[in-house]
């Protein structure tokens, strides 16, 4: 396949377009609220009205405003039909020609969409994720073709470095640096791994990207493979995402048929293959060393680093491992240039970030915002604040590895450094909003419960420490704990953070630490005044005791 073929496919696809389009969201959220029946009903309604030559009913990826699903977007008038039922189909089709409709409608100028900025999700909700032609019509695989024809691997890496892209899995490691390390490690065999083991509670960014635009991720991986000199790629997806797996399988098959994968990609000397590996439901397999052990067929346990995967990864070979969203950023950077990408965002955090907005908020869904946007803009303008006028208390980012940011800090810009400074992390993009009814100790216990379940059990601080932290939090919630229990809890947090083997353990105390930092009074209120109460009150007042205070040991 050559550029001419890509252009021919694009032209054919565009020539086949009809004056009206109804785009039906077929991502997992809408599918679970009956979008498949809506799609079938719309098809039938169009046929019954004899408008097949006028209206295209296209299944597409995520239309983002998940709380209002099933969603149907209409072109060219830009209307967005919300909570569409199969019996609404006739009325939607009529409305397309100016008739009235009983369905609630909105459009892309709503505040939910206005502050968003599309790079990763540019195709999401526009193209049919199950047809490669639809992706090619949106300039898909042009970046790959440009790379293979005009750029050396070093050029690609330098473009990624210049763009300032950082790992979207959460830690924010500079992507260009990672690529160049793998490229420089000498080995006959190298691997590219895409981490799609998204497991944070409330997070669904990677799932939506894979369901809405699988070819974008595949294209990014092929470009990465060319840049670092790898021949084989793996996409590791969790088994809980059957729709994403199905669409990826379809996409990979199509890419092979079109000569975009396999020997001599786009008739160049470069060969690259991608296979899917399905996770078996362990959160810890999102940790890179555990993920690679799992691909190798071993128990998904992390191992100490160094050696880092770039040096010795999958099957002991140099391995590039990036998150789904990171790979999805690659093609736009190549197409529109690293300077364009670097112009978006803040000084140290470039580009955009996709978040899954959930919790006590009026509009939940998938959003993509430029880095540096204020949390307040996300929560109040895009999300519309807490429902029924309730007051927002905190925003949780980063899942079980992150922390709770209090409402008083909502003017914090969203970038890697600012969130870390507040004791949270950017994380992979889960964002859970909490209102005043939320008990913060309970929130900490919820995440600790998750960590107890998901600890792999290899290292002692995480395996036994999380269980003890969970017990102490339960004790506090049951109003049975004393000041010394709180001290033990803090000591445990320090221990687990400093001594655990992998990132899961090292960050497991974060939800406790951040709630202790901003909502300490809620913990204190629940303590038992066992010792004479004046003393208890005085300790409650001085925030953060000196760290060298010895625990009550009774030696």
């Amino acid at each position: 396949m050559l550029l001419a073929d890509l252009i021919r496919i694009k032209e054919q696809e565009l020539a086949g377009r009809k004056p009206f389009t109804l785009r039906v969201c077929m991502a997992a959220g809408c599918v679970s609220s009956n979008a498949e029946a809506v799609l079938a009903a719309l098809d039938r309604a169009v046929k019954d009205a004899g408008l097949e030559s006028q209206i295209e009913v296209r299944p597409v990826g995520c239309l983002r405003l998940c709380c209002e699903g099933p969603l149907v977007a209409a072109d060219p008038d830009g209307k967005l039909y919300k909570k569409v039922r199969p019996e609404d189909a006739v009325s939607v089709v009529k409305a397309l020609q100016g008739g009235p409709t009983s369905v609630r409608t909105g459009d892309m100028r709503e505040p939910f969409f206005e502050k968003q900025f599309n790079i990763v999700l540019a195709n999401s909700g526009l193209i049919d994720p199950e047809r490669i032609e639809s992706y090619i019509a949106a300039d898909g695989y042009v970046a790959l073709r440009n790379v293979l024809r005009d750029m050396s691997p070093a050029d690609v890496i330098s473009a990624i470095t210049k763009s300032g892209l950082r790992g979207r899995g959460g830690a924010g490691y500079p992507t260009g640096l990672k690529w160049s390390t793998v490229a420089k490690t000498k080995s006959a065999r190298k691997y590219v791994v895409c981490n799609g083991d998204e497991g944070d509670p409330g997070a669904f960014m990677d799932r939506s990207v894979l369901e809405s635009d699988p070819h974008r991720v595949i294209e990014g991986m092929i470009i990465a493979g060319y840049a670092v000199g790898a021949q084989q790629g793996f996409i590791y997806v969790r088994a809980e995402y059957p729709l994403a797996i199905k669409r990826l399988q379809t996409a990979l098959k199509q890419a092979r048929q079109f000569g975009l994968l396999g020997s001599n990609v786009l008739e160049s000397p470069f060969s690259f293959n991608i296979d899917i590996r399905i996770g078996a439901g362990a959160f810890v397999c999102g940790e890179e060393t555990a993920l690679m052990a799992s691909i190798e067929g071993l128990r998904g346990n992390p191992r100490p680093r160094p050696p880092f995967p770039a040096e010795s990864g999958l099957f002991g070979e140099p391995t590039l491992i990036n998150n789904v969203e990171t790979f999805a950023n690659v093609a736009p950077i190549i197409l529109q240039g690293p300077e364009w990408y670097a112009s978006i965002g803040t000084e140290k955090s470039k580009g955009t970030k996709v978040f899954a907005l959930a919790g006590k908020i009026t509009r939940t869904g998938l959003i993509e915002v430029p880095m540096g946007i204020k949390l307040r803009e996300i929560v109040e303008e895009i999300g519309g604040g807490a429902p029924e006028g309730a007051k927002i208390k905190a925003v949780q980012t980063g899942g079980p590895s992150g922390g709770c940011i209090p409402a008083s800090e909502l003017d914090t810009p969203v970038d890697y450094e600012s969130l870390t400074k507040l004791g949270s992390i950017m994380g992979s993009g889960g964002m859970i909003v909490m209102d005043e009814t939320t008990n913060m100790v309970d929130v900490a216990r919820f995440f600790m419960d998750f960590c107890v379940d998901e600890s792999c059990g290899k290292c002692i601080p995480c395996r036994a420490g999380t269980v003890q932290m969970h017990r102490l939090l339960t004790k506090i919630l049951n109003r049975q704990a004393t000041e010394s229990d709180l001290k033990t809890l803090e000591d445990l947090c320090e221990l687990v953070r400093s001594t655990s083997l992998c990132g899961l353990g090292q960050t497991a105390p974060n939800p406790v630490l951040s709630t202790l930092r901003f909502f300490r009074s809620e913990y204190i209120e629940l303590l038992q005044p066992k010792s004479p109460s004046p003393e208890c009150a005085s300790t409650a007042e001085k925030k953060g005791e000196p760290a060298d205070d010895k625990p009550v040991e009774g030696r």
Binding site: V284, P461, Q468, L495
Partner: protein
């Protein structure tokens, strides 16, 4: 092989390139506590007792898998490290039922020794006191899960020294268990060669010879060490 010079606890130490900090320290007579480490068996850095401070590294590093570097400055027993080690040991003691007075390994137990070394006379955490099974189905050996600390020394000895692959870990987190084959009773295992290397490798009273009673379970680690060093030095009698 190039030699490296480093400082461990203020003492200048020379080490071979590729040696771990733990080996270099032990060669120099500096003690670093360990539990999941066993000479000759692949190290996994899991027990976190051998964590040391290295100047210039923000994180604590496990001495058993960290390679020596020229000019490295290592601290093996700061107050902070001793505090962490004590807590890790307490966590272990609270996790399962480590009742020395009725244990086959009383007096010969690495966990007991370490606890004594760290002055643990009580545990600040709640005892989880799980009721776990004792597998006595094997004709020669027994496995008491109540005493197991999941160091996986038995698993590694079984896979990497004996090559039988009988022992493994099932479950996750606090639910992790050492199993035989596909979680069958040990006595029904079709892969177990009854070599006893797992028993020799166990640091506590979890694996024992049948018939051993309280405090009688002494291990002969020299047997295991002999096999390992013989393999390294190719001293097999053909």
């Amino acid at each position: 092989m190039a030699a490296k010079t480093l400082t461990i606890d203020g003492q200048l130490v020379s080490a071979e390139e590729g040696q771990t900090v733990l080996d270099a320290a032990r060669d120099a007579g500096i003690y670093i506590p360990t539990l999941c480490h066993l000479n000759g068996i692949q190290d996994i850095g899991a027990c976190r007792l051998c964590l040391v401070e290295i100047t210039g590294s923000p994180k604590l590093l496990p001495a058993c898998v960290t390679k020596v570097q020229e000019g490295m400055e290592v601290q093996t027993s700061s107050d902070r490290l001793r505090r962490y080690r004590r807590m890790i040991l307490e966590l272990l003691l609270a996790e399962r039922n480590h009742v020395c007075s009725v244990c086959v390994s009383n007096g010969h137990c690495e966990l007991q020794t370490l606890a004594a070394e760290h002055g643990i006379d009580h545990v600040r955490f709640e005892y989880l006191s799980p009721r776990l099974e004792v597998d006595l189905s094997h004709r020669l050996f027994g496995m008491d899960h109540n005493r197991c600390i999941l160091c996986t020394r038995c698993v590694r000895a079984c896979w990497h020294v004996e090559g039988a692959g009988t022992k493994n870990v099932a479950g996750r987190g606090i639910q992790s268990r050492i199993i035989s084959d596909l979680n069958q009773p040990w006595g029904q295992s079709e892969t177990c060669t009854a070599c006893g290397k797992c028993v020799a490798a166990c640091p506590t009273g979890a694996l024992f010879n049948r018939g051993a009673t309280v405090a009688e379970m002494q291990r002969d680690r020299t047997r295991l060490e002999y096999i390992v060093t013989a393999r390294e030095k190719s001293q097999w009698i053909v």
